[in-house]
Each structure stands twice: as structure tokens, then as C-alpha cells.
């Protein structure tokens, strides 16, 4: 179980204090899929980055299975089974897809294990494991490989930041079933997509750095009708 208690995050901008996350209190239970949605700039990515340790909170607590992890380094949190699939995947020079998957899993995979993982994100292992993870890969390919790293890692708290971005419509079915199958630990997905909202156990709506609504997937979906969903996408 993950608990976020009284979490605040603010930055200085032009010598003015700017509040980005305001008094966030959330509880995430094991075996559930949570979807966080909200306008562009509402603070969704920032929240996930604070959980991963990439961004330092201003105040508050992050408690994972009873332990306050809010002062641990990124590495320590990674080793505790927290995993964050970036909104904008990072590229390298000289590292291959295979290298990242091996690092994620902490072991060397054989071809059939690679196949298992990559086929879940709709990629054929033999075409990809020896490709460099650089900007020659398309946006959608990078996104899928980012997802594959989380699968390879097999952590207990998996966070995905707009995993659907750049993924073609035809692959959506697989994408949603992928999150369905991740049950076991906690899964948190940031998304604007109705089809992902539809499979959520719980939906959290952020607005301007605050949790403005949360509840079961069904209940929340009926509140966030198609029209407001469109508005939530920021367009």
C-alpha cells in the first residue's frame, strides 16, 4: 500500500512562490489499477516524479508498505520495486534495447524471455533487441520500449505516464489488457484516454495541483462524460 500524506510541492519563479502540488492526500491499494487524469499542467507527472524521487517534495510524506520512503534516493526507491515509465522516454547513445531490458530486470535475458516481454508491448523481439535506444526509433516505438522496461522490472509499484501517447489505435486493445494483467502490485497510470479510464478501478482527477475528485472507475466515468473528457485532454 502506498500512502501520500499532506504532500506539497512548490518552486520559486521570478522570486515568487509557485505552488504546483497542494496538500495531496491519497491512498493506493495493492491489486488495483489507478488512473490519474486532469488538464495539461495540473501536476500529474510531477506527482509521479515525486513518488519516484526524481523531484523533491517541499513537504509531506510518502509511505510505502508502512515505510516512509520520502527521503530515499531514486536508486533506493527503484530497488524497493518502484518503477516509473517516463512521459518522454529517455534516449541514449550506444545502449541497445536489450541492455535496458537487462538492466531493468537485473539479469541477462535470453531471446525467448525478450520475446515474451516485447510481444506484450506489440514489438517483435528479433527486430528490436539489437536496436539502439536512440532517437532513430519512432516516438511510438520508444513508448512501447519504455513500457517493456517496466514489465521486465516486475516491480510492486508501477507508474506509467501517458503510456498511450503515440501508440496507434489498433494496439489499444493490447495496451489495456497489459494493465489489466499487471495486477498484483499497485499500478498508477496517468492518462487522458477514455479507453484507459474505462479499465480503472479508481480514477483520480487533478486540477491545478489539487485532487478535486476521486472515486471508483464507474462512478467517476459517469461524471466525466465524453465532453468533459475531451476538455480534460486539454483541447
Amino acid at each position: 500500500m502506498l500512502k501520500i500524506k499532506n504532500l506539497n510541492y512548490s518552486v520559486e519563479e521570478n522570486s515568487m512562490k509557485k505552488d504546483i502540488l497542494k496538500d495531496i492526500n491519497l491512498t493506493f491499494e495493492d491489486n488495483k489499477l489507478y488512473v490519474i487524469t486532469g488538464h495539461n499542467g495540473s501536476g500529474k507527472s510531477t506527482l509521479l516524479k515525486i513518488i519516484m524521487g526524481i523531484v523533491q517534495k517541499s513537504s509531506g510524506q510518502i509511505v510505502l508498505d508502512g515505510e516512509d520512503i520520502s527521503n530515499l534516493s531514486i536508486t533506493e526507491r527503484g530497488r524497493k520495486g518502484i518503477c516509473y515509465a517516463f512521459q518522454q522516454p529517455v534516449t541514449f547513445k550506444g545502449l541497445k534495447v536489450k541492455d535496458l531490458l537487462d538492466i531493468a530486470a537485473g539479469q541477462n535475458h535470453n531471446l525467448s524471455q525478450m520475446c515474451d516481454i516485447l510481444s506484450k508491448v506489440g514489438l517483435c523481439a528479433k527486430d528490436y533487441i539489437n536496436r539502439f535506444l536512440d532517437d532513430k526509433l519512432s516516438g511510438g516505438e520508444l513508448k512501447r520500449i519504455e513500457l517493456a522496461q517496466a514489465l521486465a522490472r516486475g516491480g510492486k509499484l508501477n507508474m506509467f505516464d501517458e503510456p498511450e501517447a503515440g501508440i496507434d489505435l489498433w494496439s489499444f486493445e493490447n495496451l489495456t489488457s497489459l494493465f489489466d494483467n499487471l495486477k498484483g502490485g499497485i499500478t498508477i497510470v496517468v492518462s487522458h484516454q477514455k479507453r484507459i479510464l474505462e479499465i480503472a478501478d479508481e480514477i483520480i482527477l487533478l486540477s491545478d495541483g489539487q485532487v478535486v475528485m476521486q472515486g471508483s472507475g464507474k462512478k467517476m466515468l459517469s461524471l466525466l462524460d465524453d465532453k468533459s473528457c475531451g476538455r480534460l485532454r486539454g483541447n
Partner: protein
């Protein structure tokens, strides 16, 4: 041949045993072992130190190994190697130099290599440089490579400096005729107070000639690297020079590009990026459980090996 010799040969030419095919192993200025084949002839020069490597027309899928090792301190070696590669060949040439110097006097190897690449031929040339031995004497390598390419030929040149070289100035000159392709890949690691300078001058003389230079370098501690490239497009041609450097500690890398499109249809591009390891790369790897040191090592290793 002793343990150190074998270690150096393994490092610079991946040689574990006497290679198949043609080879020449030079140690401390003397030919140690030499073998020609029906297709590849290695002949010592009579007027100066060095060898001629003559590869007959049409020789395919063959390799030549010509490693040099130096195990003496205070030794300066100057050698001229000329390669005559016939038309329609497809061959691999493994050169390279390893210096073991545990004395306080400098050891130096200057290899002057000239390639005459025949029409339609394809050559892969690998030159690996390495130094070891903890004496205060420097390990110095100053190679000069000249490449003359005839029509439709291709040369893939991999120039690697894997560590331990105190000082190096590497100069490469190439002239390309019609439809020639020259790919140069350079990976350099410097540490401590080492100095490495690379200078490329490539003349794209023939129509449709193409040159691609990719330089990946890592400078650690107080080391200094310089990268100078000078590409001249005399015809409708294409060149892309990419100089990427990672800086650690107090190191410096200076990149100087020069591109000169004499012909207005020449398309010449130079890209350079020098700086520390991107923060987001470290963050990504740390989120996958590596600590900062491990993450840096993974990034540097990948960068230098590919």
C-alpha cells in the same frame, strides 16, 4: 613471445593465437613473425622501416593482421606501411599498437599508413591503440593515415583508443573519387593528464562521394582532447561529421569544424555536442536500480563501444 606480448596482442588485435591468413607482428621495431598467402603478399621495404601489403584483385572475405607492440621504455619506433588493394576486393585489415612501458623513459610509435583502394573494393580497417605499464615514461602514439580511394570503393575505418595512451596526435587524410564511401568511426577514452588530438582532412572529389565521421569521446580527470575536421566538397557529394564528447571531472574537449562546399551541390554537415552525461539518462538508469556510479559506467561503456 611472453605473457605481456600476448596480453598486448589480445588487447589491440584480439589475437589469441597465430592468425589464419596473412599477418605481420612487429615488436620493438623488428618483425617478429610474418606470413604471406597466395592472395596477400607482405613484403618488407628495403629503403626504410615498414612493409608493403599487396592484395590481389578480387580477393574476398580475407583478413590481414598487422599489430605492433612495444615493450621497451625509451624506444621510438617509426614505420611506413603501404597497402595496395586491388580492384573488386572485400577485406578486413586489423592494425593497432599496444605499448607496455614500466620505465621512466618515453616510448613512442608513429605508424604512417597509406591505403590505395582499388575500384569497387571494400575495406574494413580497424586500428586500436592501447597503453599500459605504470612507469612515469609516456606512451605516445602518432599515427598518420592516408587513404586514396578509386571509383566505387568503400572504406570503413574504426579508430579506437581504449585507454592508457599518454599522448596522441592522429591525422587522417582521404581523397575520394566518384561514388566512394568513407565511414570513419572514432572512439577515444582519455584519463589523468592524457592528451589526444584528432585531425581529419577529407576531400570529396568525385560525384556522389560520401563521407560519414562519427566520433565518440570520453574525457576524464584532467585530460584534454581536440577534434579538428576539415571536409572539402569539390563535387556533388555528401558529408556528415558528428563529434560527441562526454566530459567528466575537470576534463576538456575542443571541437573545431571546418566544412568547405566548393561545389554548391555539396551537402556538408557538422554536428558537435560536448558536455557532461545528460541528467535524465542517469535518472532513468537509477530508477531501474543502478546507483550513480554504475549508471555512469553503463552510459560510458555503451558510448565508447558503439
Amino acid at each position: 613471445m611472453d605473457k605481456i606480448d600476448r596480453e598486448l596482442l589480445e588487447k589491440v588485435a584480439q589475437l589469441h593465437k597465430v592468425p589464419a591468413g596473412a599477418f605481420n607482428i612487429r615488436k620493438n621495431g623488428q618483425a617478429q613473425m610474418r606470413q604471406s598467402t597466395k592472395e596477400i603478399e607482405i613484403v618488407p621495404k628495403s629503403s626504410k622501416s615498414g612493409i608493403d601489403i599487396i592484395i590481389k584483385k578480387g580477393v574476398k572475405n580475407k583478413s590481414v593482421h598487422i599489430p605492433v607492440i612495444i615493450t621497451l621504455g625509451g624506444f621510438k619506433d617509426l614505420v611506413y606501411n603501404d597497402f595496395y588493394i586491388g580492384d573488386d576486393c572485400d577485406i578486413t585489415i586489423i592494425a593497432g599498437c599496444g605499448i607496455h612501458n614500466k620505465t621512466c623513459q618515453d616510448s613512442q610509435h608513429d605508424g604512417i599508413h597509406t591505403f590505395h583502394v582499388g575500384k569497387n573494393s571494400k575495406v574494413r580497417y580497424v586500428e586500436k591503440h592501447y597503453g599500459q605499464g605504470d612507469g612515469s615514461g609516456e606512451k605516445i602514439l602518432n599515427p598518420i593515415t592516408r587513404v586514396y580511394m578509386k571509383e566505387n570503393s568503400q572504406m570503413d575505418f574504426e579508430s579506437l583508443q581504449i585507454g592508457g595512451v599518454s599522448s596522441t596526435i592522429r591525422k587522417t587524410y582521404a581523397k575520394l573519387k566518384e561514388n566512394c564511401v568513407l565511414n570513419i568511426k572514432e572512439n577515444i577514452l582519455t584519463t589523468e593528464t592524457q592528451y589526444a588530438k584528432t585531425y581529419f582532412k577529407v576531400k570529396l572529389m568525385g560525384k556522389n562521394s560520401k563521407c560519414e565521421v562519427v566520433s565518440h569521446s570520453v574525457a576524464k580527470d584532467d585530460s584534454v582532447q581536440e577534434f579538428v575536421s576539415d571536409v572539402i566538397g569539390e563535387s556533388e557529394c555528401f558529408a556528415h561529421v558528428e563529434c560527441d564528447g562526454i566530459l567528466l571531472d575537470r576534463a576538456r574537449i575542443v571541437s573545431t569544424p571546418k566544412i568547405d562546399a566548393i561545389n554548391k551541390n555539396a551537402s556538408l554537415v557538422h554536428e558537435a555536442a560536448i558536455g557532461k552525461i545528460a541528467g535524465e539518462q542517469l535518472i532513468k538508469l537509477m530508477s531501474l536500480g543502478l546507483d550513480q556510479d554504475q549508471a555512469e559506467q553503463v552510459i560510458i561503456k555503451g558510448f565508447l563501444e558503439n
